[in-house]
Point group: C2
């Protein structure tokens, strides 16, 4: 029997209409839909594709063992490795049975996402295909109504978990900056933007293209309650010319 | 009479199935479809949406006055400013008549695209909306079958028109690098990648997700005939762990 194909399906930044035609087709054709999910929350990716799920789809939530609870870094790493091993094994059971599996990914599967961890565990033994998606990177520019980058500008994408010194240096040396995974790092990100002298150009974007979307000057963002999928954007200067 | 809305519609990297559901809806609803086009070539963006064009759509090709012909830089700049002024004026005539206009953009409208130049000329007087699209940035990772960036990696996006020293320095200091607008700059980009000591990790990607797609180790790419929309990608290292 032919084994199934594992699809990494980018479902876009949040608005269900920002899925691609290909993502919709692949979901219609795959009997099994898998998605990562935090312990006590519904999956955002699953919510995005809600209208595409039929009663005959098999759904496979892959529930993270830890999310924001305090855990020692070494234990956290072990727990996650085990979790991705186990997730890949569960997906492989369907692939072995000849069924295609769609693994949902918010934004794009290969742009700072979790799909890559199951991809690495499966791609040497099974057919895999990645369906690229609209990333939060470009969604935030659309939401701001301003170009992200133009001409020969240097665009740097950073993670909010980086040390504040690294962030400040990177922000100072780039034209256009997007900081992902801001959430609880917002205070440090704001410090770094300030040190780089870019506060006046910076925006805070939360839940871009989703219900509850918020856009604020970075200086006005509330430090206490930034969700994980919030971003800080310093858009193009050259584009305005 | 209410004036029309100008939509910047990202149509994705090349595969017509990588358009979003929203792009398809907006095209179905807009009576006028505008697109930039080089003098002697058909528009790639127009080709991508071919199946969505009806006989009752008004098509408005916006033909660049120059493309790759040798022109003095100052004249080139003047010609382009006049061209974008004129393009915005032609679009505004339809908006004034109460008709919505969809301006097509390969990839995403606000990610190093030309749409921004008409956007700037119209957004103070007319309703505008940007429909984000799948950018070539993430499409090339899907085509390579390898994650673009993971964890806290720094992703830098560069333009191939930058000086070789700048390119080399930027490439050396980033984890993941994508160089856009490679084309005739391929020789210089390859030199810069070599100087940064990253040649072994680098790929050349041409026409990602389109007919004629090519992926090669950068060292094997043919310097003579790289098209404008070719890219050089140095993908994630951390993602492989």
């Amino acid at each position: 029997m032919t084994t199934g194909c594992c699809y990494g399906v980018g479902v876009g930044p949040g608005d269900p209409e920002l899925m691609t035609l290909k993502a919709a087709r692949v979901l219609a054709e795959c009997p099994v839909i898998a998605y990562f999910q935090a312990t006590k929350r519904t999956s955002n990716a699953r919510r995005i594709i809600d209208e595409h799920v039929r009663a005959d789809h098999v759904e496979m939530p892959l529930v993270y063992p830890v999310t924001t609870e305090p855990v020692a870094p070494s234990l956290y790493e072990t727990l996650l490795v085990d979790f991705y091993d186990e997730s890949a094994k569960r997906i492989a059971e369907f692939l072995d049975a000849g069924l295609d599996v769609a693994v949902l990914c918010e934004g794009d599967p290969f742009f700072f996402g979790s799909y890559m961890y199951v991809h690495h565990r499966l791609s040497d033994r099974y057919a895999t295909e990645v369906v690229p998606g609209v990333s939060s990177l470009v969604a935030c520019a659309a939401v701001l109504g301003t170009p992200l980058a133009a001409r020969d500008e240097v665009l740097t994408v950073l993670s909010g978990v980086l040390p504040v010194d690294v962030l400040a240096e990177r922000i100072a040396s780039a034209d256009t900056v997007v900081v992902l995974k801001v959430g609880r790092n917002l205070g440090r990100v704001r410090d770094a933007v300030g040190r780089a002298g870019r506060t006046d150009d910076a925006f805070y974007v939360e839940r871009a293209t989703m219900a509850g979307e918020r856009v604020l000057p970075l200086a006005d963002a509330d430090l206490a309650d930034a969700p994980y999928f919030s971003m800080v954007v310093i858009p193009s200067v050259a584009a305005a010319r």
